[in-house]
């Protein structure tokens, strides 16, 4: 199934393909995959993404989720590095 992935901060610039300013990538993962599976897939794409899991919180849609959250086709998954607003 296809899910959409959003990267932020320096991870967006480390994405393996040029991403738009919206930071969107797509990934094809098995039906019923969890966030953990997706994170593994993404972090294997580039050495600079290898610490993605340890350095980010994750959101599915606009809600915080966990590595155990089960994904559905079309979900938008955001990997959120430590924030620095304000």
């Amino acid at each position: 199934m296809i899910v959409r992935v959003l990267l932020f901060g320096h991870y967006r610039e480390a994405a393996p393909v040029p991403v738009g300013t919206d930071g969107l990538l797509t990934a094809d993962i098995p039906e019923g995959s969890t966030v953990a599976t997706l994170a593994e897939t993404i972090s294997s794409l580039d050495p600079r993404l290898s610490d993605l899991v340890s350095r980010t919180r994750v959101a599915v849609g606009t809600e915080f989720a966990t590595l155990e959250t089960v994904l559905s086709a079309g979900d938008e998954v955001a990997f959120l590095p430590p924030m620095s607003g304000g």
Partner: protein
């Protein structure tokens, strides 16, 4: 009231949004782009946001201030490039009791920094850095 915008922030708009004639005070926090960071000379900042989630989280902060303290709170945050000296964030809390207004305003900015998905890129004379929490990560990219 929350606002996530590319435009220059107007601190008075936050005041006007929260004050009623029964409030005796407001406390306002304004974060401004400063000329130095981590020992480096800064020329400007660029804020990136996960917009729909950031707006939702800002609304939740406003809701939490109302729930915890019963106080009105407004939050403005700017996105995109901001030169030194201009405001990046404005938080205003109105109250009839000053102790609570200070406490709530402090809580709102602390929580915003942790839980609202916004990131800043610092343009310095020594290069461009993504700021991710305590980490500053050198990047080759130019302002987008």
């Amino acid at each position: 009231m929350v606002q996530l915008t590319q435009d220059i922030l107007n601190p008075q708009a936050a005041v006007d949004a929260v004050m009623t004639t029964s409030d005796g005070a407001y406390v306002q926090f304004v974060g401004v782009v400063r000329s130095h960071s981590r020992g480096r000379e800064v020329t400007g900042l660029e804020y990136q946001a996960y917009v729909p989630m950031a707006e939702q989280q800002m609304l939740r902060l406003v809701g939490a201030v109302r729930e915890k303290w019963g106080l009105a709170c407004a939050i403005l945050h700017r996105m995109g490039y901001i030169p030194v000296g201009e405001a990046a964030v404005v938080i205003c809390v109105a109250s009839s009791h000053r102790a609570e207004a200070f406490e709530a305003c402090r809580w709102a900015i602390d929580t915003l920094k942790n839980d609202v998905p916004i990131w800043k890129k610092e343009f310095t004379v020594d290069g461009t850095f993504w700021i991710e929490g305590e980490d500053a990560i050198l990047t080759n990219n130019k302002p987008s």
